[in-house]
């Protein structure tokens, strides 16, 4: 029969599909899939890379920030330098995510408010007869875009400066790590050739 761990991981309709008491190939496959997407229902990272993988994994663009999340691989023999690099990348990823999610959300919200207020000023309903949302033409929206840009100018400047700093730091650390790894490999090669 099914192990309790397996039953616990397969939540919702997944179990009902195959019927009780039969652990077929497809169910095992689904179990692996569900395991990899473990925290999906709980709201944590929705994907777990396969155990044998030694690389980072990059996912689809986030709904709010449009940035692609990266799950960083932590090797067994991670050096202090490599850890610094990974932490810098994780930190930048979280910081970027927070900025863009907030930026896009506020843009969307302010845009809706602007459309609503303009439509109201014109005396039009928000939704027309067919149930579709009425929109403003490009000229009217231009006022909003200009306003949004000038309102957020200082914030963008600050973000720019920080992003460039972080990008350079991370790339420089990547360069250092690559160099150290290359030297290590050369030393290993020399040792092996010597033997």
């Amino acid at each position: 029969g099914k192990s309790p761990a397996l039953g616990g991981r397969l939540r919702g309709s997944a179990v009902g599909k195959e019927g009780k008491g039969r652990v077929g190939r497809s169910e095992q496959r689904r179990a692996c899939a569900a395991e990899r997407l473990g925290g999906a229902r709980g709201g944590g990272p929705a994907f777990r890379p396969p155990a044998h993988s030694r690389h980072d994994w990059i996912g689809p663009p986030d709904r709010l920030s449009n940035l692609r999340p990266v799950i960083f691989h932590v090797p067994q023999d991670e050096s202090a330098l490599e850890r610094r690099l990974r932490e810098a990348r994780q930190d930048t990823q979280a910081w970027n995510q927070q900025f863009w999610a907030q930026q896009n959300a506020s843009f969307q919200q302010e845009k809706e408010e602007f459309i609503y207020s303009r439509l109201k000023a014109k005396g039009l309903a928000v939704r027309d007869e067919t149930g579709q949302k009425a929109t403003l033409n490009a000229e009217e929206m231009a006022d909003f875009y200009k306003d949004f840009l000038s309102k957020n100018f200082r914030k963008h400047m600050r973000y720019n400066r920080d992003w460039y700093k972080r990008n350079f730091t991370i790339t420089f650390l990547m360069g250092q790590v690559a160099l150290v790894r290359a030297l290590r490999w050369l030393r290993w090669k020399k040792k092996n050739v010597g033997n």
Partner: protein
């Protein structure tokens, strides 16, 4: 090729199609259909192609482009937009299902999954069962491992190879217009050096702009955004293109051309790219960046910065404005959300005025060409129709300020420049004519001498 087993090549291809379509607009549709049919014959058809067809269906149908014209694939969408997208998805999927049994998929398991997904999406109207959603999402996660056979394509996209090709063309035009005998090796070296310098500049630009590119529809499929290449590799590639490129120009051609190339890279990466988010003056800096390659071509041929070089640069400089201002008119929402300071967003009136101004300036510059002895007087006459046409479209853009006039102006600028350069080259003042003119003034003594000699 085991590509049929992997989902990534078709998806990458589809991504490329979608990027290409969005970039070049509806005019390119026939070519893509042909390509699509060819690929379909190779039996690599997957759901991604149907997705692509859906996008084209939407784009063509909604000629009247308002805010919700193009459904953005993965960006923030209001509830309304999502439901509309799904309606159209349902419509297209119902169309597609009868076709799919005809195409025998090469990889049965992956396609079976995808067909199942399609049917479910049609039934449930977007909210697929958790398992289907899970497996679909799971497959969207990619291992960040660089595959060597993907590398050429990735580097081509990183270096914006098509833009680089256009830049090399303008540099070649500058070389061809120079009033010196044609030197093939010099020409090839100059073209190669310019191409390498352009690759380097474009790669650094993409390296700087990763989070901004992610948020704009036009640029969200770039290699660094998708994690196909690491930033370190992008920088190394840029260095390995830029250093040999500039060295080639400085040592293989002449130091002036090398200096111009290095200056152009600096201008593009360190001035234009950061300025895009600081001030609208970035457009003028960008126009200078576009104007330098033909000047480089000229100096490669002659070794000096003549008036002719500056005129060619001036023509390219003026051309940039109708081209870019018209393009940016349709991207105002993305620019505003991404924090880009563009004329089209903050000073729309100025944007259109400048575009019109520079269209008219092209007529003036074409007239100056024969004065500087670069071309014959036939050049301003023959080029007048196309210059007048682009000025007319510029005027329409200025007056109407809508999406259709901006698109017309943009597409016109795409063929206007090659045609202008071609006409210019065909009207080039031949060296023979110049020599004869020179003889009239100071060569008589020589001829007289010849006669006297036995």
């Amino acid at each position: 090729m085991s590509a049929a087993r992997r989902c990534s090549p078709p998806r990458a291809l589809a991504g490329l199609f979608i990027w290409h379509l969005k970039k070049t607009g509806i005019r390119q549709v026939p070519c893509h259909f042909v390509h699509l049919c060819r690929v379909a014959n190779d039996r690599l058809i997957t759901f991604q192609y149907f997705n692509f067809l859906k996008r084209m269906y939407v784009t063509q149908y909604n000629k009247d482009l308002s805010q919700r014209a193009k459904p953005k694939s993965d960006s923030v969408a209001s509830l309304f937009r999502e439901s509309q997208q799904l309606d159209q998805e349902k419509k297209v999927i119902h169309k597609i299902i009868p076709i799919s049994p005809v195409h025998q998929p090469l990889s049965k398991t992956s396609n079976r999954n995808e067909l199942r997904e399609m049917k479910l999406a049609a039934e449930i109207g977007g909210s697929a069962t958790p398992l289907r959603a899970e497996s679909k999402e799971e497959r969207q996660w990619k291992e960040m491992k660089l595959r060597l056979d993907d590398l050429p394509g990735i580097l081509a996209r990183l270096s914006k190879i098509k833009l680089t090709a256009l830049v090399v063309c303008t540099a070649s035009a500058g070389f061809a217009m120079a009033p010196v005998p044609f030197d093939l090796t010099c020409f090839l070296l100059a073209s190669l050096g310019t191409g390498l310098a352009s690759c380097a500049a474009n790669s650094i630009n993409q390296f700087f702009e990763v989070p901004f590119d992610s948020n704009m529809n036009r640029t969200k499929n770039r290699p660094l955004v998708r994690g196909q290449i690491s930033p370190l590799l992008a920088v190394c590639f840029a260095a390995s293109c830029g250093v040999p490129g500039i060295a080639l120009l400085a040592l293989g051609v002449n130091p002036l051309t090398g200096a111009l190339g290095a200056f152009n890279i600096f201008l593009y990466t360190c001035c234009y790219t950061p300025m895009k988010r600081m001030s609208i003056a970035n457009t003028w800096v960008g126009a200078v960046v576009g104007a330098i390659p033909p000047v480089m071509g000229w100096t490669a041929a002659t070794g000096s910065l003549d008036a002719g070089a500056l005129l060619l640069g001036g023509i390219l400089y003026s051309w940039q404005f109708p081209h870019f201002n018209a393009l940016s008119w349709g991207l105002r929402e993305d620019y505003s959300r991404g924090g880009y300071c563009m004329m089209s967003v903050t000073h729309p009136g100025l944007c259109r005025r400048v575009a019109l101004r520079h269209c008219v300036a092209l007529i003036g510059l074409s007239t100056v060409a024969p004065v500087l002895d670069i071309t014959t007087w036939t050049f301003p006459i023959i080029s007048l129709p196309i210059n007048l046409y682009i000025s007319y479209l510029g005027f329409r853009f200025y007056r109407d300020a809508d999406r259709s006039s901006s698109r017309k102006l943009f597409f016109c600028s795409l063929w206007h420049l090659p045609m202008l350069l071609l006409v210019m080259f065909s009207c080039k003042k031949s060296l023979l004519e110049k020599e004869e003119k020179g003889d009239l003034h100071g060569g008589n003594h020589g001829r007289a001498m010849e006669i006297r000699l036995p």
